[in-house]
């Protein structure tokens, strides 16, 4: 009888390896630090005040790639894996396949990310946006993704009956991430070149966002938001629409990165239509979450993780609205290649997914360290610096974009557009400094919290010994 109870209500300690979750989060924050350093270097270069000019290993061109890769594979992937190690076993009521495998994956993934960074720093990047990982690392990374899928799918597969929304997203994401990575890194490198490679590259860029980051992010939202608000998600029907709409339309949008290229025009139209369809689906998901918040809006002020999450969702709404505009051919003619797109990318990667993950960390660290945050004020600072920073950066870049586009179309000399951009790039650097300061505040707070946890532990240990 007790064994049955145990199976139905397993203890948290048997499900979640908290140490591993902390490790993943710490690694993620470390990479975010590195990534932001790279962003800084490029930011200073753009306003022509790079103090570290002419040093091969610190070349802004190479660090620009470290900037994006450290965020995608260093911060996002690690933070997601940490959060998955918390959420998946608790949802499936079973631990992951093998604890040793989990630690092996952790180590292997850090090797992959670090060698990517070193490889890029040494100038071995692969010519694929968001996939600059040197070609010799690609198979290793793919093997890592396969192991991740196996490790997490094991408990999910043993689950009986219908699954909770979060697990739909996670299950699909394990498959999609593996397939996307394989498709993007190998087909344009080894099988096709030129325009066809461009089409596959476009699919890869967007699938990485849409089929790796987005489903994992929404999965976490469907998991944490109801827990924190202590109420279910408003509409199960809209959850279904959101998931299946994303699953169908998102993979079809990739070519919208290469409008007006020699890729066949009917495929470009298809991508544009799918993209607009995705925006509609997204609207249903947002409605679902914001209606869920009804009656609990107080949480936005007194529940910091909820505030992180919903701020992220507001940015998500904005970024999708922006996307619906920029994917139209009319708008694309003007803003393609400008800072508009850069603003969009930052708003997605930082404003949405990093926000969600930082909120998750804000929620989980006290539980992992078994103590409250050292300072709630510092947590607030972290939030406001990050939120205002990314708001300023995206607004600045999104405004700069159309101007750049008009300057180019006006056929004035190229440097006119550069001169015009300098003040915008300066503001962007200020915004970046705010976000970076936010991170430093968070790291400080975390260190102090950790020290506090250690202090709290010692008397307990002493008491136990006595």
């Amino acid at each position: 009888m007790s064994a049955d109870v145990e199976r139905e209500r397993p203890r948290h300690e048997d499900l979640v390896d908290e140490r591993l979750v902390s490790w993943y989060f710490l690694a993620a924050l470390g990479y975010m630090f590195i990534s932001m350093l790279g962003g800084f270097l490029m930011g200073f270069q753009l306003i022509r005040h790079n103090p570290l000019r002419g040093i091969e290993l610190l070349s802004p061109g190479r660090w620009r790639m470290i900037h994006t890769n450290a965020i995608a594979y260093g911060f996002l992937a690690n933070a997601f894996l940490g959060a998955l190690h918390w959420a998946v076993p608790r949802l499936a009521l079973r631990p992951v396949l093998d604890r040793r495998l989990s630690y092996f994956i952790f180590g292997a993934w850090q090797v992959v990310v670090l060698s990517t960074a070193v490889g890029i720093m040494l100038g071995q990047a692969q010519g694929l946006e968001w996939g600059e990982t040197p070609v010799w690392i690609d198979p290793l990374a793919l093997a890592g993704l396969l192991l991740v899928a196996i490790n997490f799918l094991a408990p999910i597969v043993r689950l009986r009956g219908p699954m909770y929304v979060t697990l739909w997203y996670f299950t699909a994401a394990f498959i999609w991430t593996f397939l996307t990575y394989a498709m993007g890194n190998f087909i344009p490198q080894y099988f096709v070149s030129g325009t066809s490679a461009g089409a596959v590259g476009g699919l890869f860029i967007h699938d990485l966002v849409g089929l790796f980051v987005t489903p994992l992010g929404w999965g976490l939202m469907y998991y944490f938001v109801p827990i924190m608000l202590k109420k279910p998600v408003w509409s199960h029907g809209l959850s279904l629409v959101g998931f299946w709409g994303l699953a169908f339309f998102y993979p079809l949008t990739g070519i919208h990165h290469f409008l007006y290229t020699p890729i066949p025009m009917f495929l470009q139209y298809g991508a544009v239509i799918s993209t607009i369809a995705v925006e509609m689906v997204v609207t249903t998901v947002l409605i679902n979450f914001f209606v869920t918040l009804r009656g609990a809006t107080g949480a936005l002020t007194n529940n910091l993780p909820i505030r992180w999450f919903y701020t992220g969702m507001v940015f998500y709404g904005l970024t999708c609205l922006q996307c619906a505009f920029q994917t139209t051919l009319t708008f694309q003619a003007l803003i393609h290649f400008t800072d508009w797109v850069v603003g969009h990318a930052h708003m997605v990667m930082f404003g949405v997914f990093s926000m969600w993950l930082l909120g998750t960390m804000t929620y989980l660290f006290p539980r992992l360290l078994k103590t409250d945050w050292y300072s709630r004020t510092l947590c607030e600072w972290h939030y406001w610096l990050s939120a205002l920073g990314i708001g300023l950066m995206s607004a600045d870049l999104i405004v700069a974009g159309p101007f750049q586009g008009y300057f180019w179309a006006s056929l004035l000399p190229w440097d006119v557009s550069v001169d015009f951009s300098i003040p915008f790039w300066a503001v962007r650097l200020v915004a970046g400094t705010m976000m970076f300061t936010g991170l430093l505040v968070f790291l400080t707070n975390l260190a102090l919290t950790w020290a506090q946890a250690r202090r709290a532990e010692e008397p307990a240990v002493l008491a136990a010994a006595a």
């Binding site: 010519g127 739909w168 394990f174 397939l179 070149s193 089409a199 998931f243 066949p264 797109v341 440097d415």
Partner: protein
């Protein structure tokens, strides 16, 4: 089906992904399968514009050229073959430098048929221009901090590029482009192997066009089709 493992795994995970890949990935692959992919050697073959620039490098920086590529053979046919081979090697190497240094994150390589781009740079890009080994993966690019480069070849001379790579602000006042002194042995007139390769690569961009190096200003001459021999 919509909430079950099998549905999520097989339909959303595999089937939808497969539909997208087949329709958006495989279709262009099949459409362009008859456009033969050229190797670097084939790109050099018969490309007199590129060969001119490569020979110019050899004549402009003879000592550094020898250090980077060795001494060309004396005998004419052997020398021609040697030059073509070295030039192809330089293109491949130059592409790696271009990618490794992140050039492609600030410079695109395609001219769109909108926004007056053909009037700024030259002919709109066509599919066959990209069917070669050096566009693996393709370098369309996503951002233009600097100008597009796919019609850059011949527009400026090798010495201009050398100085510009060494320290862009020496020529372009106020340029935000980083410096690349490691492509040189200490001074802009001493490119190393990577420097030569990158210059050759940039001069190659657009060299397949008849309008090279005038592009938008090109006026075809009626003496083009005359056969003297």
């Amino acid at each position: 089906m919509f909430e079950k493992k099998s549905g999520v795994l097989l339909i959303a995970g595999l089937l939808f992904f497969a539909i997208a890949f087949l329709s958006n990935g495989l279709v262009p692959i099949l459409m362009y399968k008859n456009l033969k992919e050229k190797t670097a050697e084939e790109l050099v073959q018969g490309n007199g514009n590129l060969r001119y620039q490569f020979e110019d490098l050899a004549r402009r920086y003879p000592e550094s050229f020898k250090t980077a590529f060795g001494t060309p053979p004396e005998e004419t046919a052997a020398r021609e073959a040697w030059l073509n081979q070295k030039c192809a090697d330089a293109l491949r190497r130059g592409r790696n430098v271009y990618v490794g240094e992140g050039c492609w994150h600030c410079h695109s390589q395609f001219i769109r048929p909108v926004s007056n781009e053909d009037r700024r740079w030259g002919p709109v890009s066509k599919s066959e221009e990209y069917q070669n080994e050096l566009q693996r993966p393709v370098l369309f690019g996503t951002r233009r901090v600097g100008p597009d480069l796919c019609r850059e070849g011949g527009r400026r001379s090798n010495d201009w590029h050398a100085v510009h790579f060494f320290k862009p602000t020496m020529l372009s006042e106020g340029s935000p482009m980083p410096e690349y002194p490691w492509l040189f042995d200490g001074s802009p007139d001493k490119p190393n192997e990577r420097g030569f390769a990158l210059i050759a690569y940039v001069q190659w961009l657009g060299s397949w066009q008849e309008s090279y190096p005038y592009y938008k200003d090109y006026q075809a001459s009626n003496v083009k089709d005359v056969k003297l021999k």
